[in-house]
Amino acid sequence: MNLTVTIGSLTMKNPVGAASGTFGYGSEYEKLIDVHELGALYTKAVTPEPRGGNPVPRLAETPSGMLNSIGLANPGLSYFISNKLPELQRMGCSVIVNVAGKTQEDYCKVVETLETQTGIHGYEINISCPNVSHGGLAFGTDPGIVEKLTAQLRSIIEQGAAMRKDSCRPLIIKLSPNVTDITEIARAAEAGGAHAVSAINTLVGMVIDVKKRKPVLAMKTGGLSGPAIRPVGVAAVYKIRRAISIPVIGLGGITCTDDALQYLLAGADAIQIGTVLFSNPNAAHEIIQGIWQYMETYKINSVADIKNLLE
């Protein structure tokens, strides 16, 4: 029985990854869990410059979910390379760097620079960021922009691979659910040369404190994650799977094996867990075990075959 998952040239040891922004760069969780058990670690977003993040409060709790407006707080590309990357390299799992930016150049700069570094196994491109050169609507809402951005990043990593005389690192486009037709964006990513897409990022949400008579978050709106959005994520993956042929990485509200299996049955090749880590840091371990047992029960040899079990 084989738990490995293949995305482009990369083989992950199992389909369970820790979602960007919920796992930092891994070091905090090392004290609690065996990080090397993870199929992949998706880092907190990296931007060219350091970012302190949004004003506070940044968190709000919602029914079966939460809002965050961390605001891509991160120490910036240089610090990431000098201080975080060495830590990540000893984690013992595939390291996917989540990349964010305000302009197309930001994304390119991060990937270009990281192409000169070792110990990185892939990129996840967070296109839910507001596109400053496009009126502030997220990059991920316009198929034309997504295709162009993807193509440009693809050519950067092709060049990087050639320079390193190595295979091309997989390029994963992380889709936003805040669009009319997510399959259209997935097709644009595929057309641009993505090796995979991941879905879903958070939904836009807001909570108002009726006693204080103002939004709980300083930024007013934030990103909704957790079990509340799971049905939205499963539906998205189901539709995306039937629209494109590159791998799909499913996430959104996964808390346990059954939740992960919903995504795998819907057509995901791998999954990520985010919010659940806050209440149960051990969730990855439990889900990896659970998927193994499910495969035993249904006598399946490869994770990739789980999707074929769907009637």
Binding site: E28, K31, G53, E61, M66, N68, I70, S279
Partner: protein
Amino acid sequence: MNIQIANIIENRSVSDQYFELVFDYSNFDSEPQPGMFFTVKIDGAFGPVLRRPFAFSGWNPKQGTASALIEKRGNGTHWLAGLASGDTLDILGPLGKAFSFPQRGVRPLLVAGGIGLGPMLFFANVLLARSNQGLCEAPLLIAGFRTQSLIPKLDFPAGTLFCTDDGSTGFKGTVLDCILSLSDALPKVIYACGPSPMLAALARYASSLALPYEASVEQWMACGIGACMGCAVPMTDGTYQRACADGPVFNGLTVDWEKLV
């Protein structure tokens, strides 16, 4: 720091709104120090997605127990209040940075507002023990409450000063009013936990007298271990620190209280 399913040893109401939770601490990997906290998973089946953080209010290494003073606020704390000895809790701890010890010869002033009492009582008891060993001066604890009925029925260090907003017992007024009324001697170092407006007022006071001041700050938390950047506390230098990992105890003079709300 680790996660344990801990047995509840005792869970009892200690005042109108507060209860004291005592749980088995024998399986945790490190000692809790005053100012540190732990997080609890709420209600297995249908619970909310975030753990709830609480400061340690005590630690009894002989009995292998730790405790917290908890205020009934929302659903999570009401659920906790309903548990009893024999029930179990999913606890992650100890977390965060503790208060630092005062220098010898300086009488530490400990200020608690409302449910901020838990960590200050813990700290007061630890300092008392140290002062008995001659390691520091005995602390003075000032504890403020909205009204008398909130004051928990617990053992307080001799000399503890109580204030109430409504004057129903002790000093009538805020803890700061009470400090200002202390005729004998100005405090030399302040440690505090309580609502942010109180902590901010103490910061202005400490700053005006250039007193060392450590404050334990409350901020919404997600991971509780420093990974998510959700619990950011704004600093006067424009940066953010993490309440869970860089705090919750901060140099109160460097916190940007205006931006903390």
